[in-house]
Symmetry: C2
Subunit: 425 residues, 2 copies
């Protein structure tokens, strides 16, 4: 069935949008109306692209608020890691369903996941109806046996995954080594070769803290991104490289990243909350040719998966630390949070255009954040919250209408149940 | 009629709360039930104190999103000031009603207002059922005639205000000179004497930008707070002094502020968005004995009046710029955003205790920000948004239940109507 979005506000003008299958096929006021069509009255709504959450650990929604406000190492050692030993397929499934529910309710239709039990996560995404990059993650901490096991596991998963994530149109499998300080150089390079052979994205934590940079200088004599370049990974991966955080960079690294056209993911709420830093070099990265995207990180470090909130934090933080109210205007912030993320994944979305994938959302202009509506985009980014989002469409299919999402009550109950298996107080 | 809040979650335990008139008179599980009582089933809710928004320009809600992302002087000269010439009583009334509606929906029951047409603002607050400090503001820019007019106007207002704000139990009239760089020293001092004679609060913009500090050093040879101390204003006002922003301070100023036990108001979203700065000296001010409170500023600089969002920004920003995840834990952030504000105003609220004023709110634990509920306070401050707030009670009276606020549709329509008189595009 076709989908006809009638009389929505788009870039300040009222227009209608016709969707066939997964694609926007018409935008205008005199579109031909198909016979078998589902019409959405959007006369009180503005239409905007959905968000791409480019770095998260979805199932960690279950850790929301657990061990907050403690020093980093204490929090990991005494809170998160002991509980993570209890993880299983069922816990990750419901944790990821909860994450997808939260992301749908805040306008996200694509996320880049890095966590354990990827088959369970993939199944949860398919059952939720949105898009994800499912990362197969791991670390070897320089241990040879660990490295062999990781290589064996990842090969097996890509060859034989039970849920055949490779075959879903909404899923993209990704190679996701944890970080240069938890994975040995030889394994990092082996994974880069593996990703190159199979044309896969390569997602990794990079330069999140100043300490990582200092440790890299001590052990390798070079900064983390220079080290990855020396291993040939940046060149080999190029546009398939996604560096999460990428917060502590020098000019040489910024130029390197631009030269190889990589993607980086800013995680402002996580960086602030964990005290990792705040001077994200947005303008410099953009000008160097880097594809800058946005993420929330997992709920154990940023507490929610709300990309609209993250977009506001990102835009305000750029203005704030630069002392410049014109730094990162609303329009550019939304592009980072939406279009640039889809671009990294090779999905033609993050824009409301004929020919683009139908990933879009409708915001309720009766929400108080839009009153008065002097500027719809300013109101969306700077004033409104995600409860203003009424409808979310992913790949041509409505996944939320009137703020109702399929299975919401069940997902919440199951999440409350499985968290008791995970966190045993 | 009494109000009985049944089975709410309070500090991790289920309990009930009895309110008589404007006061919390009982907390426990075996409270005597009065005969004439309104019972609220709070079995899915947690109870928390309401917010005190300690610095705003309420009617500027009408400027939401107007002229965003422009340099400061261009924004003032070409956007805000020309439009402000159109202000009248009716515009300020509906702008303030809209502000009150937004604040109620995000859990605020007290705000400290500094804007024009204070009688209209006062009337809007009374009609909304929440508390406000209504500031009589003004500037003389060193002009003698202007100074005389300001003194005459303020005396007349305090003596004869049409709406007799002095007599409302929910309103506190305040002396609110704009700033040391817009009001002459002699007028600042005259207003300080005026406030002392009548035991009034003294609310003023202080050290919001680095430029102000530099200008003060040039014209007075001292920094702004030192200058106010030299005029005898800090000593004379003491606890009645409320310094908005107070962002650019040196150690001597911090000690001065502590010595006089003044109140300062942090406005993190506004400071970031306008590029004013981000290193708010919370720990230093607290340790010096200053009463630190929180505000949103007006919607023309921070775009919404959501104190829950401001609380999160404040807490994250302290952790971020200090590089310390233990800086400003959730509990302390809420105290700044609530109890400290009420304290500055002399209202016994911002806490859920027998004998305190009944200003409290109920959050819906079925909201996704509270799932799972490993830590209610962490979830409230770091994960949830204000749409989780179901019920708001001010001075013993419900002003929102099930997210419904009196006159909401009318207020929105009237705001949309009067904004056309204000902003003539």
């Amino acid at each position: 069935m076709s989908l006809f979005i009638k009389d929505a506000l788009l870039d300040g003008k009222t227009t209608s949008i016709l969707i066939e299958q997964d694609t926007i096929v018409g935008i205008g006021n005199d579109l031909p109306m198909p016979i078998d069509v589902n019409v959405i009255d959007a006369s009180h709504f503005a239409v905007l692209p959905t968000f791409a959450n480019m770095h998260t650990h979805a199932a960690m929604t279950l850790f929301r608020g657990y061990g907050d406000d403690h020093p980093l190492q204490e929090w990991l050692n005494e809170w998160i890691w002991p509980a993570e030993r209890n993880l299983d397929d069922e816990i990750v499934y419901w944790g990821t369903r909860l994450a997808c529910l939260e992301m749908i309710k805040s306008g996200t239709t694509l996320f880049n996941d890095m966590y354990f039990f990827p088959d369970a996560a993939a199944r949860a995404v398919v059952d939720s109806g949105i898009r994800a990059m499912i990362g197969f993650t791991g670390f070897d901490f320089g241990d040879k046996e660990g490295a062999e096991k990781l290589k064996k596991d990842i090969t097996e998963w890509f060859d034989n995954s039970k849920f055949k994530v490779q075959n879903s149109k909404l899923l993209t499998p990704v190679v996701a080594p944890h970080a240069p300080y938890t994975v040995s150089d030889s394994t990092l390079k082996w994974l880069s070769n593996f990703a190159a052979e199979r044309d896969l994205l390569y997602h990794i934590h990079m330069s999140e803290t100043q300490k990582e940079v200092e440790d890299s200088l001590l052990s390798h004599g070079t900064r983390p991104y220079r080290h990855l370049a020396d291993l040939g990974i940046l060149e080999q991966c190029g546009e398939r490289f996604i560096g999460a955080h990428s917060l502590h960079l020098d000019n040489e690294e910024i130029n390197l990243l631009g030269q190889h056209h990589v993607t980086v993911v800013h995680n402002p709420n996580s960086n602030l909350k964990l005290g990792s830093g705040y001077r994200f070099m947005y303008n410099e990265l953009r000008d160097a040719g880097v594809n800058v995207t946005l993420g929330t990180d997992g709920c154990s470090s940023s507490n929610n998966l709300d990309m609209l909130e993250a977009t506001k934090t990102m835009a305000l933080l750029q203005k704030g630390w630069r002392g410049d109210p014109t730094a990162m205007p609303a329009k550019e912030a939304l592009q980072v949070a939406s279009r640039n993320g889809f671009k990294a994944t090779g999905i033609n979305a993050g824009k409301i255009e004929v020919g683009a994938k139908a990933d879009l959302l409708l915001v309720d202009l009766d929400n108080i954040g839009f009153i008065p509506n002097n500027d719809t985009l300013s109101n969306y980014i700077y004033a409104a919250h995600s409860d203003a989002i009424n409808t979310v469409i992913c790949n041509g299919q409505p996944v939320m209408q009137n703020r109702k999402v399929k299975d919401e009550a069940t997902i919440k109950e199951e999440a409350k149940r499985v968290v008791k298996k995970l966190i045993k107080k």
